[in-house]
Amino acid sequence: MLALVLGDAASGKSEFAEKLAMQWASERYYIATMQVADAESQRRIDRHRQMRRGKGFVTLERSLDLAGLQMPSIETAERVALLECASTLLGNELYLPDGAAEKSWQAILSGVNNLQRQQTHLVVVSNCVFADGASLSPEMHEYLYQLGLLNQHLAAAADLVVEVCCGLPLYHKQSPLLKSL
């Protein structure tokens, strides 16, 4: 199964994604994407680590080249991985020196395919940042353009697409196999 969990900033999408992943398998991996750049990013990372504590996730750090990530083989019957998040990964690929630049969204999409091949279930978290009414710089426009394409391709491939608002799920797509959710 592939799930795409989207939401605004601080919408509760991570907590929802964790719950979803925990329902799917007891062998759990968490793919963390944020690079520690300053105290603020360190605080965000610490908050997420605290939130995951005791939930049985093994954390892997990967801020670039998801397509090249080789994970340990599955130990139990089913494994779930939680990728958090596609939008941070896109920022990394676009702006870090070794990133995929104008081919970032394609690189991340093949990275997601690579992850899918290595587990039973995959939950991908991404951001909704497409309704700002202020004038955008060309860089912001490029980021939104690539994130929009990435989200649309992920949504098309996903069995489940959920938008989280204030911690509450809005289901945009739900495969018949998931009726029990």
Binding site: A131, A134, S135, L147, E163
Partner: protein
């Protein structure tokens, strides 16, 4: 008239063309229109207005007054049953710093509410996935 809204980069236009069977030639792009207040919308041959938010933004830049903007809204409300208006949602960010941006997003939001009230169908496209609101 049918209203289709959603954030930018969500696949709204693709969905409209697939769902309603319209071609790119039938799409009038609001980004290309900078109408003077006395001009009416050049609608002949078109079935879709894309980027209503830009059409409205361009009208504001051309100095349209509120009564002129209201007349434009009235003409949009009178569009044929099978005509689709697509508009980017632009009210989801912080209050913009620039006065123009504030007036623009207010105008876009209010216009969409007025169109939605009269539309036969209202759709929101999210990640390429349609959700019918009306």
């Amino acid at each position: 008239m049918i209203l289709v809204i959603g954030g930018s980069q969500q696949g709204k236009l693709n969905w409209v063309m697939q769902n309603f069977g319209y071609t790119p030639e039938q799409v009038l792009n609001g980004r290309d229109l900078a109408l003077q207040p006395e001009q009416s919308l050049p609608l002949a041959g078109f079935k879709v207005i894309n980027h209503l938010e830009s059409l409205l933004g361009n009208a504001l830049k051309q100095g349209w007054q509120s009564d002129e903007l209201l007349a434009l809204q009235t003409s949009l409300l009178q569009l044929p049953e099978d005509f689709v208006v697509i508009c980017n949602s632009v009210g989801g960010g912080l209050v913009p710093v620039e006065r123009f941006d504030r007036e623009w997003r207010e105008l876009v939001g209010r216009t969409c509410c007025a169109l939605a009230a009269e539309a036969s169908q209202v759709w929101r496209i999210f990640c390429g996935l349609p959700q019918r609101l009306k």
